[in-house]
Point group: C2
Chain length 304, copies 2
């Protein structure tokens, strides 16, 4: 598989699989959510099970699609917690491949995912998030972790974050991802406890602990993504300013980074919850239609 370098390739690849992925949508009566799912139906790669208020859901589906009985299912359920538990059950018993959040409070939704007996977490799984950021000014996708879930990840959590990001790049044809552990500079210092964790992670990577990857850090964003900056500062890094993955030390660091680039760098993104046995889609209302559509295509690829 050729490495995916643009988000628009994601739906193309999924379409080429000639398979319809079943996505269970919790409280689907949300225009933003349903529009992205419908695009997946029309392109032949999604068969959704819409759970929620049936009447409202139907009102959001175009007439021509309503005529096609085989295109989707609707399950009436007006209680968010019940809807959420039901959707998780469907994924666990194989009725659905992917779980997706609709018009429901994220905490209630995640509670069902995190449920110890009936939830969707992997054994020893760490709830986290990886997104693929597409920037016109970078020559390939930049995978960011964790821009959405873990406030101040511990070393154990950062190790999990790195592994999830590596797994995602592998699924997208990047066989030896370059993982930059991001700090404010390249210096290891007690003033930045994360830089000490990074040293251990690098050693772990060198011993093959993350599978095939090139890991380096701490690196600042210039050193991670710009070969010229390495030359100017006379620094040698095995990543060579060509990072695939940026691992951030905190949510306070990752979140402004990607939001700044969405606003001012003309960025686009697709991301998924991590640590689960099956892909879980949680999209922000402020995300564009395109982002949501790419996100669903990414979920299908990860499920395949």
């Amino acid at each position: 598989m050729r490495p995916v370098s643009r988000l628009s390739e994601l739906p193309e690849i999924v379409i080429s699989l000639n398979k319809r992925f079943k996505v269970a949508v919790v409280m689907a009566e949300d225009k933003n959510t349903i529009e992205a799912v419908i695009a997946g139906i029309l392109n032949g790669f999604l068969k959704p099970i819409f759970i929620g208020n049936k009447q409202l859901i139907i009102s959001l589906i175009p007439d021509e699609l309503l005529l096609n009985e085989n295109a989707f299912d609707i399950v009436e359920c007006e209680d968010p917690k019940e809807a959420s538990d039901l959707a998780v059950d469907m994924v666990n018993n194989g009725e659905a491949d992917i779980l997706m959040k609709g018009l429901i409070n994220t905490d209630i939704f995640l509670k069902s995912v995190l449920n110890k007996e009936k939830g969707l977490m992997k054994e020893e799984g760490v709830l986290s998030y990886v997104c693929a950021l597409e920037l016109p000014a970078y020559h390939k996708l930049l995978f960011i972790t964790d821009p959405a879930v873990l406030p101040f990840p511990s070393k154990k959590q950062k190790i999990a974050m790195a592994q999830y990001a590596i797994d995602m790049t592998n699924k997208l044809g990047i066989n030896e991802p370059k993982v930059a552990l991001i700090g404010a500079s390249e210096k290891v210092s007690e003033h930045f406890p994360n830089s000490l964790d990074y040293q251990e992670m690098k050693e772990m990577a060198a011993q093959g602990g993350f599978g095939k990857c090139i890991m380096d850090g701490p690196l600042d964003v210039f050193l991670a993504c710009d070969p010229e900056s390495l030359k100017t500062k006379k620094i040698i890094s095995p990543i060579e300013g060509d990072a695939d993955v940026l691992l951030f030390p905190s949510l306070e660091a990752s979140n402004p980074f990607y939001k700044g680039l969405m606003l001012f760098g003309n960025g686009d993104l697709a991301g998924l919850i991590q640590g689960t046995t099956h892909p879980v889609v949680v999209m922000s209302r402020s995300e564009s239609f395109k982002s949501k559509y790419y996100c669903l295509a990414l979920a299908c690829l990860m499920s395949n």
Copy 2:
């Protein structure tokens, strides 16, 4: 004064002042540093005192400028610490208006600045940094603090950072700056101790503690800089998605933010050390010539 909205206005304004600012350059024998200073000489607003290895310094000055005896002074001094102390003395006794770092280790340079008896710190001054970021995709300058000095600022340090940024915007004609206190979301939560500090800072601002300004937070970057995001999320903020200043909770957050936008958002910047009685210019080797030139113009404006 009309608010400055682009960095290129900085030298224009300084030139219009018809004044030559005296800048003491420590270990000036650095091509990058001297080039930016020479542009300031040629545009008539700088009269530097180059301190360092005289022969090396002369080798970096164009011949036509060497003929003009009135254009600059050179003081021979080969010891970095001595050169640094000397330059600080010059600023303190009025021989220089601005201090600038050349080819010298930043720690040695800052030690002279921070010296309790003979340094350049304001009483109760907090060593910090503010930079003005110019982004083609934003309609005005975005002031960032602190992208360079304080790793994890305390509440007291964040209060100082806010004040320094406000003072800088005032000097650039922005009379009521909009200051966004940046977090990963708009929620105040114990999981993000900075958000608790932000609440106190907002109250302080409401009571006039920072002078004339509009302060709000925690806000994420979307809510701080994009009116549409406020509408989508149905959130009301007095900043109205039109921030002048972004105050970050840590260096790990601010540093990747501005570096990402320099690389992928076609950004440019000018910044200064804060907490000092006189402007102090510390520029990174990786900064462009333009950034360095704007930086010097900003120092002149702040000194005026």
